[in-house]
Each structure stands twice: as structure tokens, then as C-alpha cells.
């Protein structure tokens, strides 16, 4: 499997993501935002960071990059696309995912581990987890407050497109366990087709016990597994 990690001016989790993909045995390559053509890849990932300094709105300027046209086409063709943190913000700005990530309700940057409940174990990205499993994964963002209009929110819940939710140690989605004010403690969602996942927490930083958690590994192994079962099938 070959994965593209798309980098924008100001991306800063690109290398971490690259290493995470490598760690699960997949091939990976950086694609600079001005480059065109993603046909040779089987999955596309948008890393975290501060593309264009998060100026104007997080992700707003990056989504205008030439490569985004190809990301849109790649997603439309059913190819798996993962956006983490700033990547999630870019996907929302580009309309590949619904809603918007607004400023954290506490008005401060939040950086610490959170607990996430896995809501779906039947997506391309979560097959190696179990539904209800609790993951420990770091967050680091100032604009992670997920909001959308009523209708969209109802659809997200109704269609089961919420993949990860912030919870406490008992697995409850409480206000105290919500780091940024996201509606319904949403931490990660997919598009309707299920091939685009956006999440604020950083699984690529939870790949080694030495650094505090290995709970992010499953996300990457899941993707590799789902792609190898459909080998040759996608995009």
C-alpha cells in the first residue's frame, strides 16, 4: 500500500504521520501542496499543523492549494482520505466533511491526552478497534470545537458517522471530558460514503509506549488491513 502525506506550508505533524505509516509497514511519500496527481496512491493523509499559520481560519487558505482539487477527486472516487487536526480542518473547509471547527470554547489552546470512545469499528479506519473501546490519544489544538447546522448534526448521529467521541475514564461523554466544546463531544467523523475521516486527536503521536500510548497504532493497521482486503479495488 502506498500512502500520500500531503504537506502545506506550515504543516508540522507531517513527519510524525510519515513515521506512523512507515511503522505499520506501508509505503509513504510526501506530496507538496503545489504538486498535482495522487493517482499512484491508495490512501491520502492530511497532517496536523498550522497550514498558513491558521491565519483567517484554520485550514481556509490551505484548502485553496492546487493539490486539494486532486484530494477532492481522490475522495470522490472512493479513495480513503484521513485528516488529522489541521487536516480535519482543511477537509471541512474543502467541503469533504460537513461542519466547521471553531475556536475551543475555553478560548485557549488545549494540549494533553484525552480519552476517546470508538463509536464504529466497521469503518476503513477502525476495523482493528472494538466498538466501545477507549483510546488514550493526545490532542493539541486551538480550534477543535465541532459545529454544524441542526440538520447536519442530526444526520451525522442518525447515520452513525461519528467515529470518535471524547469521554471520561468510565466511557461517558461528559462535559468535563469535552476539551473544546464540540457538539455531542464529537472528536472524529466520516463523510457519507465513509471513505473520508477527520479527527482532532493525534493518533500518530500515540504509536510507542515510550511516548505514553500505543493506542493510535490501530488506526493505521486498520487502514492497511482494509486496503489489502480490497487490494487493487480502490481509486
Amino acid at each position: 500500500m502506498k500512502v500520500a502525506v500531503v504537506t502545506f506550508p506550515g504543516s508540522n505533524c507531517d513527519y510524525d504521520l510519515y513515521k506512523a505509516v512507515q511503522q505499520v509497514g506501508a509505503e509513504v511519500e510526501f506530496v507538496w501542496h503545489r504538486e498535482r496527481g495522487l493517482q499512484r496512491f491508495e490512501a491520502v493523509m492530511l497532517p496536523g499543523g498550522f497550514s498558513y499559520g491558521d491565519y483567517l481560519r484554520a485550514g481556509a487558505i490551505a484548502r485553496m492549494s492546487p493539490v486539494m482539487e486532486d484530494v477532492v477527486a481522490f475522495a470522490a472516487a472512493g479513495g480513503p482520505v484521513l485528516g488529522i487536526c489541521n487536516g480535519f480542518q482543511i477537509l471541512c473547509e474543502a467541503g469533504l466533511l460537513p461542519g466547521a471547527l471553531m475556536r475551543n470554547d475555553v478560548l485557549r489552546f488545549r494540549s494533553h491526552d484525552v480519552l476517546l470512545r470508538v463509536e464504529r469499528d466497521d469503518t476503513l479506519f477502525t476495523g482493528d478497534y472494538e466498538k466501545g473501546q477507549i483510546l488514550r490519544i493526545p490532542i493539541a489544538h486551538g480550534e477543535g470545537n465541532f459545529e454544524a447546522d441542526e440538520e447536519t448534526l442530526r444526520a451525522l448521529e442518525g447515520d452513525g458517522r461519528v467515529v470518535f467521541r471524547y469521554v471520561d475514564a468510565n466511557g461517558e461523554a461528559t462535559e468535563a471530558s469535552n476539551p473544546n466544546g464540540s457538539w455531542h463531544n464529537i472528536a472524529g467523523i466520516t463523510n457519507e460514503a465513509g471513505n473520508v475521516l477527520g479527527m482532532m486527536p493525534h493518533p500518530e503521536r500515540a504509536m510507542e509506549a515510550l511516548l505514553g500510548s500505543t493506542d493510535g497504532v490501530g488506526l493505521f493497521t486498520s487502514l492497511v488491513a482494509s486496503l489489502s482486503t480490497t487490494a487493487g479495488g480502490s481509486a
Binding site: P9, G10, N12, C13, Y15, D16, K19, A20, G48, G49, F50, Y52, G53, D54, Y55, R108, F109, R110, S111, H112, P138, A140, G142, H202, E204, R205, M207, E208, L210, L211, G212
Partner: protein
Amino acid sequence: MSQADATVTASPVPPRDGDPAITPEVVADHGLSPEEYERVRTVMGRDPTFTELGVFSAMWSEHCGYKNSKRLLRLLPTKAPWVIQGPGENAGVIDVGDGYALAFKIESHNHPSAVEPYQGAATGVGGILRDIFTMGARPVAVLDSLRFGDLDSGRVRYLFSGVVSGVGDYGNCVGIPNIGGEVVFDRGYEGNPIVNAMCLGLMKHEDLITAVASGDGAPLMAVGARTGRDGIHGATFASEELSEDADESSRPQVQVGDPFTEKLLLEASLELIASGAISGIQDMGAAGITSSASEMAGRGGSGVEIEMSAVPVREAGMTPYEILLSESQERMLVVAEPGQEDEVRRILEKWELEAAVIGRVTDDGKFRVLENGRVVADIPALPLTEGCPTYEREGVESEEIRALREADLGEHLIPEGDLTRSFLLLLGSPNVASKQWIYHQYDTTVRSSTAVRPGGDAGVIRIRGTNRAVAATTDCNGRLVYLEPKTGAMAAVAEAARNLVCVGAVPTAITNNLNFGNPLKAHIYHQLREAVLGMRDACEAFETPVTGGNVSLFNETDGRAIYPTPVIGMVGIIEDVSRITSNSFREAGDDILLLGANTGELGGSEYLYVTAGLVAGQPPSIDLEGERALQQAVLQMNHERLLASAHDCSQGGLASTLAECALGNGEALLGVRAEIDEELRPVVSLFGESHGRVVISCDPNNTAEVLRIARLHEVPARRIGSVTPASEGFSLTVRGGVVSAPVDRLARAFFDAIPSIMDASPTTGP
């Protein structure tokens, strides 16, 4: 220097239209004394022009010229086999093994932060990052050392929250994890906060590059952001006292940081260095183009010629004076290899940045500036960079401070019995309480290499592809330095070293930031000198040479100086990441041991500040040999994998240290049952801040071996109790006194202290 004085002289330069005439007032406004101005005239062999005067005033300011500290700094030990680059470059560099080198340095941004806390702190971080990546190293960690007045003032809360978000936003955006730091709140810093930022960068040995301009004719290029009118004369400003009535207009324009551009500049610079297209690179930091160009020329023993009209500017109509002294951020000066200008431009363009040829390296030893081909400044480079007059002054201890130190603390020693209330007060003091409110605003895990995040004794960054890690900490208790400068400075070095050994790192080298008041005052000079001597002794004893640092003097408001605060930034090496040790207790049932002994002083303690508002008394004495032995003992215990945890005992004393071990980061609370029988007053046993102590925990099966190793190193050691489940509470009994409380009560005091102050009360704007 004198050689250069004699051989290179300034050519005549006609005055530039529109420039003010040079009067004694103009000279004084530039921060030069009449004697210093005479020295300028001697160096020049004539009167300087206005532009030249500006250049001298920046280069001979305290900030760039180290007038009042240079002679003292020469006393510091700087050599060891593992030192690759000592003081004098943008950053110090040491060998860390497996082919890697570590560049590290600390910088202050006190004055800018007092005026505009957010931008001041942000640009402080920006500056220190550039110092690291201009050495060819990739920045891998930031630490911040902060001091403010007491949090009961709205203005202080404004400064504190502004500085923290400035430090955070900048580092977060560039993507460098924060791994630690410190913060102290004390009325001694009211009005004059301290903001020191430290950065660590890693590189392969062969990637080291230095800031030297050599090669006659080599093009000089300005890269990165454009030059604007910001921060003109920041270097001179940083060398003056603040006064309350300094009105807006007399303040230099605030520098605004652009971390996004910095990130691009960082990537572009590392790519430039790797490309071989350049031979030198330097940050345009304090005093902007002036200092970067003249220092590169000075180090290379060559000269430079710069054309002002070629410098990309942000605003029209800037004079040479303004362009030369602008402190606009996120700019670099690069010496390209001749013929490689286009390659430099290509790399910068990829990162969406500008590069412009603004001059060339010459061989005539001059710092020459042209405006549309006409010379506007012509100065011998070496005297400009090295010829700044330096002073050695008479230092005398202040009688007032001596009296404070010798004050009788008798009445404060009386309390005994149940001292839980004082203990809770202490745990809830912002100085002792959890600093999560701060570092939860900092990205601590970006780069996926942070093995120990803020909250431990020292931050730890692993080196990918090896089994190694580097650890770093910043430390200084200014109250102790205030009461007794020499021991206080030794204590700062000792605490830093203890913090490192607690995580399992071998202390290797230091950088330091001397934050002091006005050195022209005899008692301040005394503090400065004594502190440097103390630092020297401790660094010699621990074999941790000084590879660089920064001096920030004139930290005074309305004539009142801050506590002398020589912040120590120490780095250490961990050869095997599997030996990294945490400071929080791991498991109920483990034994708790105390290494080291209480020397019995209560002077300068947080207990006195919290209970009596007092900064007085004899501070704890320090035994450098004992400290060294303690470090060796802890390292050996670590090496033999005997330790479950290790935590240095410092502010708040033994009781607070045990509480910190039990509370950890708040996620897995544990309890403590401990008892210690010392022939001391109970407040001293519980809350005294003696140096040379470490609390460790270990599997009871390892206790005998731990005690044996301690004996081997002649370090006092005893088992003082056990880790218990949180439900069994916290208790520490001493002779004649006790503190005991439910663990969640301690947790509330400890974790809620800073958030409840910051969330409840509004800040008051500038």
C-alpha cells in the same frame, strides 16, 4: 582588537541629508557615555555620522556588547571534551553520542514582554529558535522560564496570561514541543516580568555551520521577512531601566511575531545549509542587520558592504538608520557561495519566501553601508564588534539585604502539632501548585519524540534512530540568590543537575540567563559578580561547562530591581531510553526513601512567603561535593534499575515534594504514609527547602540495595514510609508535628490553584 584599531580606519563620510546633527544630547539618547563616545571617535579617527552613531549605540549596548558582564563571564568554565562549540556563537553545541550533536541556548525577552506580553514572549521564542537552526540543528524542544509579580494583581494576570499564550502560540505553530520550564510569582518581579526561553536542537555532527562571513566577494543575502520599522533600537532599549512614566511614544515599536513565516524560514534554512549553497547564516536578531552583518564580518576577520536600497522593506521611505537598526522578526542574513545566488533564491521560493542580494563580503575589514551607491557608514568592523568598552565595577553588598538575611526567624519556627492548614496553603500557592494551566496551552507532543512532558523534573526528548535521549531543565530560585547571591547561584546549578539525574540523565552542560538589575549600582554588581562566581564553582564541581547564555541587565522599575535571577538551563544525556524515570509514585506498596539531609534553614522558603509574606532569613547552605555524590548515587540506582520514581526536593520542602509524587498528573492518585525523625523544628522538617535531597520510591525488595548504593557514595539515606492507595490518605509525621489530609483534598488545592485564580478574576489590560 587593538591591532585592528591600528590597521583599519574609517574613510570620511559626508553627512546624509536630513539626518540630525550629533549633539551631546543625541549621544546620550543613544545610551553612550561621553567616554564611550570619545572611544568611538578614536576608533573612527573622526566624528561618526548619525547612521554610524546608531550602529555603535546598538553594538556597544549592554545587550550586544556585554559591557558590564564580559569580564565576569570570562571566569566561567567553558571547556570539556564533549563541548563542540562554546560561548561566542549563536548557540553552544555538545556531543551527545551516536554521531549526534545538541545545540542549545537560552534568551531573555523581559523588556518587550513588559510592554506587550503576548508579542514580547512570542518573539522571544522566535529568536531563540533562530539561534538554534542557524547552527544547522533542527529545533526539537523549547523550555520557558518565567517570573511575575503576585497573581492578586489584574495587571500581573494580564502579563502572565499574555506571556503564556505568546510562548504557546509561537512554539505550537512552528511545531516545537515545550518540555518544561518554571514560573515564579513574587512581588519582587512586579512590573518587571522575566521571560526566558530556551531551545534545544539536534543535528548530525557534520551539519554544524557557524556564522562567519569569509570569502572576498561572496554575496550577502537577506532572506525571510521584509524589514519594517519595528523595534528600532530594541537592543538599546533592552539595556535601560523601565520607568512607569515612559509613555507610549517613547517606546520603540512593538515587534510582531509571525510563527508561520518562522516555520518556513526554519525549513528553508536547514535546506540551504544542507544544499552547500551558503557558507554562513545568522539571525537578524537584536540590532538587526547591523549586528548580524558586523558580527559575521568580525568573526571572519573580513569586512562587509551593504546597499540599503537592495534590502526588501515593508514600508516606503525608510532611512539607512532605520533599516540598519530595525528588529523586524523572522529575517536571516546569509553568505552565499559565489554563483549560488539563484540556488538560494530557488530554495527560498519553494518555501514561499523572499531572498535578495544586499551586499557582499569584502577583505578590507570595514562595515560599510551604501545608500544608492553613496557611502553612509564606514566603520572598522572588528572594533565595532569587539571594541566595546568593558567595565569591572566595585560591588558592595546591600546593608538592607544583609539585614534581611540575618533577620531572626524565631517566631516563625514556633508552630507545631497539626500543620495541615499551612500545608494546604503551601500546596495551593501558585509557586508550588500544578502548572498544568500553563503547559496545557503548549503543544508538548508534536514531533512525536517527547518521552517526559512538562510536569516531570526535567523534560526528555528521545533521539529517533538511536537508543538515546536528551533531557533539559531550567532552574533558579531568585529569593535565595537575593539573600545570598553566591550560594543561591550554586543552588540553581545544583537543582538543575538534581532534576536531570531524577529522570535518569547525566548532567552535561549549561546555558544561562543572567537577569539582574542595574549593574551601575554597587549592590547589584555585587549580586552579579557573586552569582557568576557561584555558578562557576558549581559548574566546575559538576563538570557541566557553560556553552553560552544571555545577559539581561537593568531589570528595574522605578529604581527597584528584580531579585537577581541567574536562570540555569541544563542539558543531560540518557544513553538508554528504557531507563527514563518518572517523578510520580508508581505503585501502592512501594517504599519511600529520602536521600540527603535537611540542613535546618528556613530562610527564603515558600513557607515564609505564604504564611508571613516574608523573603528573609539564612537560605539553605550548599555542599557541592555532597551534591555531586547525590547525583552519582541516583544515577547508579537508575542504572541498576532499582527506582520506581525519583523527585527532587525543592520549593515547598519535603511535604510538598511527597504530595507531588502522590498526585502525579492527577490521573492516578496515590497516598502516602511517612514519618521522619529529625532534630529540627517541625516547620523546618516539613517545609524547609534544604538542597541536596531527593525522594525516591522503589520496590521494597530493592530497598536494601538502594541503601547500599547510598552508603557507597556517602549519601545520607533512609526509608521514610510507603506509597499507599489514595483511599488511605496522605500523612507525614515529623518530630512534634504532622500534616495529614485526604488525597483528593490535596489534589484540589494543588490542581485548582492557578485555574481558579485565572478563571475567576478578569485581567486588566495594558
